[in-house]
């Protein structure tokens, strides 16, 4: 084998990750002179015959199919503009927002979404020039009424969600809060125990490299909740 690192090892830009080109190059790596190098400061993942590097820091880049949490920043004649903590902004067309018939000249688009509203929204398509189209078709998409939004690094989102949503379901069940984790690192929390839920999510982010994190968090939540009563 020509791997020179172990999976989840930390790598820096320009560092060799495969000494040879018998691996497929996934995202975050490039091939030169018969070797594969990392593009990012991040962690390397080896598949059976592919290799990729996940960046540790960096801004969220929209990808098709992602559910994200954004804020409406502009209402136009037939569409809304959505910002979501990224270098780019998204555009939500009226036809992707509702199935109702809307008379553009008569009806007020702010009845649906107004400037400042938080929404859970799907990235429908991203062009090469980074024009981002959004959609509200997915059943997880909705206007977020009340609650609050906290921010975590986008690279930690998979850890907060956990395998098959295990981690976030646990926080959800124990605190009784409504939680939506956007792929862009924005997390919406609503409920009586929102403080605890936010604290727990920050704890998951801080300790994301620990083993048995699900159990640790479970114990942490049980302890905290006991103290309340």
């Amino acid at each position: 084998m020509s791997r020179v690192k172990d999976s989840n090892d930390i790598v820096t830009p320009g560092e060799v990750v495969v000494d040879g080109n018998d691996f497929y190059t996934n995202s975050g790596v490039y091939e030169e002179n018969g070797k594969i190098y990392s593009k990012y400061f991040g962690t390397v993942r080896y598949g059976d015959n592919a290799v990729q590097v996940k960046p540790m820091h960096g801004r969220y880049m929209p990808e098709e199919g992602d559910i994200i949490i954004g804020e409406i920043t502009r209402v136009s004649y037939s569409r809304w503009t959505v910002e979501f903590n990224s270098p780019y902004e998204g555009s939500l067309d009226i036809s992707e927002a509702t199935d109702e018939y809307v008379d553009l000249d008569e009806d007020d688009l702010t009845d649906f979404y107004d400037v400042g509203d938080a929404v859970a929204i799907e990235v429908q398509s991203v062009t090469k020039g980074m024009d981002v189209d959004m959609s509200m078709d997915d059943k997880r998409c909705k206007k977020l009424e009340g609650g609050r939004v906290i921010e975590i690094p986008p690279s930690k989102v998979p850890r907060v969600i956990g395998k098959g949503g295990k981690m976030i379901k646990q926080v959800n069940n124990k605190t009784g809060c409504n939680i939506i984790v956007g792929q862009n690192g924005q997390v919406w929390i609503k409920g009586d125990n929102a403080n605890l839920a936010a604290q727990t999510i920050h704890k998951i982010v801080d300790e994301s490299q620990m083993d048995n994190l699900t159990e640790t968090i479970s114990e942490f939540l049980d302890n905290e909740l006991e103290g309340d009563n």
Partner: protein
Amino acid sequence: MSEQEIQWFDEDGKRIDGRDKDEMRETKMEADVLSEADGSAMVEVGNTRVIASVFGPQDLHPKHLIESDRAVIKMRYNMAPFSVDDRMSPGPNRRATEIGLVAKRALEPALEMEKFPKTGIDISMEIIESDGGTRAAGITAASLALADAGMPMKGLVSATAAGVVDDTVVLDVIGKEDKKGNADIPIATINGGDEVTLLQMDGDLTKEQVDDCISLAREGCAELDQMQREALHEVYQTENGGDQ
């Protein structure tokens, strides 16, 4: 001539600050030093101290600078008023504009700018203290800050200078050797390897000395490259529990 008045080397062949001819100054690097910036780094090379910050990719203003197929770098090189022996009047001047431009050109070949069309990346190099080699230290710091900001890049850029004093080639010139010596050549390389992204020259020197300076400075760059990687590993350690 002032060169005759200064004794550049003592009887052991050591330089005025006690280093060997091919020895770098004591260098410290730390990445992720600022919490508000997307990426940041501090580099200390002897008495020269630089803090670099990176914001972006983000919206670019003014709009007419936008490129539809790639990101645009806005580079700022700034010396603090207290960074030199006599107070320096603050604000950009001809020298700062020039160094900002060459530093930008030294970093650009290492960056994958096509990944972020229509955006701008703001890089700032603040010289806190200056004792020669500020542009080299600035480039080293800026590249570290870019990696910390999660930019996709071909590799890290490291830079140092080699110079000639008393007709002898020396590595990593200090302020005095720079001002009173014969010549200096700052060089930047990608991954401390063959690809040179910055090469300037100031002063009089022979063809052989140019070759010697370049090969000496490239060895220095390779050494700095290793230190940059260690600094990044340090960031990972502190972020994920410093107990290892």
